[in-house]
């Protein structure tokens, strides 16, 4: 949702390692992170902060890490899976890297790399990530776009 970015972040994990020299916090073990409508589940989450103290980057890794967010109260959830999810908090941008899949409404994007802009709701997908082999061995981007209004004709 629009005000997700201002919401407190609740996080739960098995363990937290703080490295003050690097300025990072690493959560490991069944990590669950919630911020407003945004939800992130992973086996490891690294959080970095900008000098201003704001959270700048959240890096989630897992078999696969999962992210969901509700763009607006009326929209369907946007769901994303990848070996690595990079959430650039200040830019409100998400990168799904490796074995990536994004479901946005009735549209689906799969490939080595999918990039999603939370506020603009824009999707970029390409197969640039080296781990871009899809299960069927192809390394191309696969998109399934459902024409707008297709659902309404099916329902009438």
């Amino acid at each position: 949702l629009d005000n997700d970015a201002n919401q407190p972040i609740n996080i739960a994990a098995d363990s937290l390692s703080l490295d003050d020299k690097a300025g990072t916090a690493t959560y490991t073990g069944r990590v669950e992170m919630r911020q407003g409508s945004m939800k992130l589940d992973a086996s490891r989450v690294d959080i970095s902060r900008a000098n201003s103290g704001e959270i700048s980057l959240v890096k989630a890794t897992g078999k696969r890490a999962y992210l969901e967010q509700k763009p607006t109260p009326d929209d369907k959830l946007v769901k994303g899976w990848a070996d690595t999810i990079l959430y650039h908090a200040l830019e409100r941008r998400v990168e799904l890297v490796g074995n990536a899949r994004l479901e946005k409404g009735d549209d689906t994007f799969e490939g080595g790399y999918v990039e999603y802009f939370l506020d603009k709701r824009q999707v970029n997908a390409n197969n640039s990530s080296d781990a871009s082999q899809k299960s069927d061995g192809s390394s191309r981007v696969h998109m399934t776009l459902t024409p707008r209004g297709a659902n309404t004709s099916k329902e009438n």
Binding site: A5, N6, Q7, P8, I9, N10, I11, A12, A13, D14, S15, L16, S17, L18, D19, D20, K21, G23, T24, A25, Y27, Q35, I47, R49, S52, G53, E54, I55, A89
Partner: protein
């Protein structure tokens, strides 16, 4: 997160060094006291104790930088343990920020390596509105490590992190919180009104504070005459 959590483990754990140093200063005093007493001590009995202890440490320029008060400190020769009841420590760190440490008991182990703050142990650093609360906080000089095997809560500016245990390696400036880690972080936390408020309150509470006997204790106020 808590600016993850500022300030760094080394800074706020250095306080424990100062705390240990505070108690150790008593140990050195003991040596002179002991020779003065020189009597046979029954087992379990202290060979010396101090009531209403109020210790101030001065820096090289003679400026007081650390205070520790305790209604009762005693040392038992049988196990060479020194125990300070309800220690209250106030100290400034290298960045001249004020710290407070309190607990029901401060225990310095035999040989003086391990120091334990027991019973509502709390480290507090008002200017960053930063607080660590646990029931038992241990520190080993030899391992240069501080740890707690019981739940810990670290709070700062309306953020908090808690876990079942905690361990900080002072040489690496890192800490691990382990077991059921739960936290609430603020996405972007500069110096909030909360920390300014906390700082204002603390400046006020420095002037007078009641100690356990209800005496108004302004020890922190007056810079003691350089008795040492």
């Amino acid at each position: 997160m808590l600016r993850l959590p500022r300030p760094s483990p080394r800074l706020w754990l250095m306080l424990l060094l100062l705390l240990v140093g505070g108690v150790l200063a008593l140990i050195e005093q003991r040596n002179s006291l002991e020779s003065a007493i020189g009597t046979q001590v029954n087992s379990g009995e202290p060979d010396y104790y101090l009531d209403g202890a109020d210790m101030t440490r001065f820096d090289a320029r003679g400026v007081p930088f650390q205070d520790m008060t305790s209604p009762h400190i005693e040392h038992t020769p049988e196990d060479d343990v020194t125990i300070a009841q309800a220690p209250k420590i106030r100290t400034n760190d290298s960045e001249d920020r004020r710290w407070y440490a309190t607990g029901k008991r401060g225990v310095l182990s035999a040989g003086g390596d391990t120091f334990t703050l027991e019973g509502n142990a709390q480290l507090r650093q008002p200017s960053d509105a930063w607080t660590l609360d646990t029931d038992v906080l241990n520190y080993s000089r030899e391992q240069n490590r501080a740890w707690s095997d019981v739940p810990v809560v670290i709070t700062q500016n309306g953020q908090h992190i808690e876990s079942n245990s905690f361990s900080a390696d002072l040489s690496k400036d890192s800490a691990v919180l382990d077991g059921r880690v739960r936290g609430t972080l603020q996405p972007g936390k500069g110096k909030s009104a909360a920390s300014k408020e906390a700082e204002r309150i603390d400046e006020g509470s420095d002037a007078t504070s009641n100690d356990s006997e209800g005496r108004v204790n302004s020890t922190f106020e007056a810079a003691p005459e350089a008795s040492q």
